[in-house]
Symmetry: C2
Subunit: 630 residues, 2 copies
């Protein structure tokens, strides 16, 4: 964590000084705003936290509820989300309070006595193998609390406008704030009043019954299913030995997906209620909780649960829908989008794969920096079209995965020919449910024709998978990727060729160029801004850290910034101590020993891979992605 | 982290529901209190955080300052303190914002050109080898912030009474609140008013010029030195390559101890100003900061620092003093103490060994639970005499260590015969400056005649050194010791003999006894309290966790508690998975394979070690330490 570089900070370094629109931010919802976010779910709150890093932008978030969410339904947190929390500064805190999934166990009928279940398989959770971050279960309400804190602590000081209901919107074609949004105050002093808010951009984070979606004429496409599930968060006493382990339980009486929750006592159970008639007309949703509990006990036999408290419960039929577009631009029309849909507003599915909140947050992470860039004048509005282009395929993948997982989970015992295949599927698909399979295609912000072979372990279009390096200034072993905070900046990692710091090398030539007048750093960083305001440039040497003389490292890796013009010591890394015997980052990520430049987007996705000599290509890439600033 | 067991919790699980004296706690300082803490430094704030866990007790903390400390002087955080922070619930947060010491480098004159310094030695910091917790540098003000949060979040809801000055006290010999304390309000509505507060106990945490110490007639014994140091926290630009590494620098021009601070830019420098004349009369303290900076540059030659901001600076002569007693009971008098001294109020020394704040916090940790126990009726007031008996020897050790370290640091180059000996001393003494050398002697709360050979890795009287185990209920690898929160409870760890859970064994017999009517659990736990309100009993099996059938584990390790009478799943551990190939806790801590019982005090010190068969001895120990409750 870096601070003090604008002078000594006494208080919590996580709270940035207010700046720009964050200074004296009005408590009342204004009539005009740059961005209006509708809904304070995971996508909306992440967007607020991200846009709080762009204090040139005015962002308001309206939420019909009168205050903080008390009880959320989502609870599955994939490793990619924890990685995202790390970028927003609260991973260590939420990990400490969450349930950490170490194993997933599978239970099925005892062949000797099919009326009783037995444990058939115990599998390590996939997270252990795929990431340095764990796979967690924690209530959505707490995730929102942490994003709210991040939004309020950023220089833009964003807090939600609670008690404000979305009524409708129209997108005009004139003026700077062409989206006219009608809202109604439903709480507080202005309760009952309607207001019109004019915005440059509106983001619908308003859930499966999204009013924003309706207002822009987008349609949720897909089908309802005729299979019903009961879900409950319960505090129980039980003799079921795996109450604190994630389990898929399949018995003659039906199926349960059992997920322990944070705190050591609570668990969530998804209980198969079987097929419903085509003319059921959602009557199954009236199933009393007592029936759901009885069904759970039938499935668990010979074990029983004695329910002491039901914290939350519901009954639903599985449905799978994707919206026909993620913004307000009809197909075939050539204009930049003004309204966007995220999360459940554009993809709905069953809860059981634990994906919904995660994919929603990545929707927000994808869109947030793009809005920040466009509204800060760093990029042209065309950047915003990449949001739908990148996120719609992810939503479709999600639906496909969830359909398959839901069907596997809902099978009857006589449909199961191989008792292991659920476990096999669970492990084989680890990359998707962990959140790491997303790979964005070529666009202005993700290069085609990159030199992938120079950095095979950083697949282009996928998020940068971090690895450990040693920080030269202090010898600490740190994760290179964890330095990349969600601050809206681009990262440029220069992995050096073999010569030591200060010796003639391809790296030294590249660094000279990057520090020169024709560099993209100069071109795309606003005059008067800190040297690293838009680009965070880091170098990793092949030597042990004791053999890197930091005073001979090129100046572009040691920029001065802030009112005191202090030098930054934390952009220079080495592959290990000189006594290193493990796998260093060059080997671990298959990086060329001739050096390689890896460009990473503000949302942590690999945007370009280039040899150190390809300076013109690098400049061209940024010229296509960003606007010139001088 | 365990919660929800009193019903579903929506908000931050670190905030406990208010209870007892924490419900509607008065904002105004009352005229009567159980405990009055004087001073909000590290010892005082830790005490407040600890006593917030005892909501039967009324605790007030007065502080002359009008609010939060803005700029603290202490900054060294030894691993034992981080371990303590873990017990108070904020280790992960403070680690994230602190400077983490990985190396200590040593610089001396270049033999070829003695006017220039060169790096002579690079040593791994001792913390890496001695603890799972790091050695940190972070401003005392932030440590106090975190303890303040813990104090305010505990059931006792303790917040400091700022703007209240201590004037004096008298200890009477009658009534329930025999200590009469005179205070003056120096801020707020009551500014200028004097008030008399009657307390059962008073703790002087009021620093080196302690008014409480004076009031009880205790004397600071020791000597001032005639060697002066300048100290400054500075933001600089420099070509000195180790600006972000802890260094001892010795040159012809003098000595510097250089300590990087949190945030990536700031460092603290202790700069040797040399001997002062006997009749100097503290005139050296008027040395201008410019002179200190010039001296620093002379010592650092050929390197230079260009100081951009001085966050804090001071000049002092090293002094070493210990108070002649840590409470108000004169030698030879037989009564229980009423007034206690902690921290700088009873031991002062140089800052350079980075010990002061750490030893002060352990003073508070030692005293806090004892006050809580006595005032909650769990233990007799005689327990309080152990505070001084245990902590005075630690203070003396501290002074001895600091004298030696200060002298070594102040040597002139021609006094240094072996350039390595400072590095050698630094590493050889690692256990003391890490905070792990404290070993309390035999008393009512630390057994004599314990069976140390059964658990050689848990030295009696030292703090329990944690090791990793596997939690049976969910298969997570966890640190056994990290479950021991600073909640004022005793821990009893039963390490099982070889038979599996449910089989006849010494463990099973011991567990039967512990659950029986003659058990110390029954005897010392108040009627109506949760079964684990006073004793937290855990078991560690020798088997892999998959081979422990939790439903066959004795009930005493799965107590029910709270209004819902929910079973606790998190007291049963195993030494590893069955495929374990590493060193398991039995081997790592040299625990008897015939089983062993390890008793740990609320401040994490090992109090007793017993075979599973020694039930009478265990009962006797607790009968001597605690009062019967029924």
């Amino acid at each position: 964590m870096q601070f003090h570089h604008h002078g000594y900070v006494s208080g919590d370094p996580r709270v940035a000084p207010a700046a720009g629109t964050g200074v004296d931010r009005p408590a009342e919802l204004p009539d005009e705003t740059d961005v209006l976010i509708v809904g304070s779910g995971p996508a909306g709150m992440l967007l607020a936290a991200q846009l709080a890093q762009f204090p040139a932008v005015t962002t308001r978030l309206i939420e019909r509820r009168e205050g903080r969410l008390v009880l959320g339904q989502a609870d599955g947190i994939q490793p990619r989300s924890v990685e995202t929390f790390q970028a927003f500064g609260f991973a260590e805190r939420i990990v400490a309070e969450a349930y950490n999934i170490a194993y997933m166990n599978f239970w099925g009928p005892d062949p000797a006595d099919p009326g009783r279940i037995i444990r058939t398989t115990r599998t390590d959770d996939y997270a252990l193998k795929i990431s340095e971050f764990p796979h967690l279960i924690v209530n959505q309400a707490r995730v929102l609390d942490y994003f709210a804190e991040a939004a309020a602590s950023g220089p833009g000081r964003i807090t939600p406008d609670y008690g404000v209901e979305f009524l409708g919107l129209t997108v005009g074609d004139e003026g700077e704030h062409p989206v006219e949004v009608r809202v109604r105050h439903v709480a507080g002093d202005r309760a009952g009043q309607e207001q019109t808010v004019r915005a440059r951009y509106v983001v619908g984070c308003d859930g499966a019954r999204s009013g924003v979606r309706t207002a822009i004429g987008r349609v949720h496409v897909g089908d309802a299913s005729l299979h019903a599930w009961g879900v409950m968060d319960v505090l129980v006493n039980t003799d079921f030995p795996d109450w604190r382990t994630k389990c898929a339980i399949s018995s003659a009486a039906g199926n349960i997906l059992h997920i322990p929750r944070e705190g050591g006592y609570l668990s969530r159970m998804y209980i198969d209620l079987g097929e419903v008639a085509a003319d059921d007309n959602h009557r199954v949703r009236q199933t009393p909780i007592e029936d759901v509990i009885r069904r759970a006990n039938e499935i668990l036999a010979p074990y029983t649960i004695d329910v002491k408290e039901v914290a939350w419960h519901s009954v639903y039929e599985v449905g799978h829908r994707v919206t026909d577009g993620f913004d307000d631009v009809p197909e075939g029309v050539e204009r930049d989008p003004r309204v966007f849909l995220t999360g459940d507003a554009c993809h709905t599915h069953s809860a059981k794969a634990g994906q919904g909140m995660n994919v929603s947050m990545q929707d927000g992470f994808n869109l947030g920096w793009k809005l920040g860039h466009v509204l800060s004048g760093l990029a042209a509005p065309a950047l915003l079209s990449t949001y739908g282009a990148e996120r719609m395929p992810v939503a479709q993948q999600l639906i496909d995965f969830d359909k398959e997982w839901s069907s596997l989970m809902a099978r009857k015992p006589d449909e199961i020919t191989d008792a292991q295949d659920l476990a096999t599927y669970y492990l084989a698909t680890a990359e998707f449910p962990s959140g790491f399979m997303t790979q964005y295609g070529a666009s202005a912000i993700t290069a085609a024709g990159a030199h992938q072979g120079l950095a095979a372990g950083f697949p282009l279009g996928k998020r940068l998978k971090s690895a450990e390096v040693v920080r030269v200034a202090d010898g600490n072993v740190v994760h290179l990727g964890h330095h990349a905070k969600a601050d809206g900046r681009w990262r440029i990692y220069a992995f050096a060729d073999a010569p030591a710091a200060g010796e003639p090398s391809a790296l030294a030539d590249w660094a000279d160029w990057l520090g020169s007048a024709e560099s993209p750093l100069r071109r795309h960083t606003p005059a008067g801004a800190d040297a690293d305001a838009v680009f965070d440039v880091k170098v990793v040497y092949q030597q042990g850290f004791e053999d890197v003389d930091i005073s001979r490292v090129p100046a572009v890796f040691r920029p001065v910034s802030g009112p005191l013009a202090l030098m930054d010591w934390e952009k220079v890394f080495a592959s290990g101590p000189s006594t290193w015997t493990g796998v260093d980052i060059f080997d671990e990520r298959e990086l060329s020993r001739d050096g390689v430049v890896v460009v990473v987007r503000p949302d942590q996705y690999v945007a370009h891979i280039l040899p150190l000599t390809a300076t013109a290509e690098l400049a061209d890439f940024f010229a296509g992605a960003l606007l010139p600033q001088r």
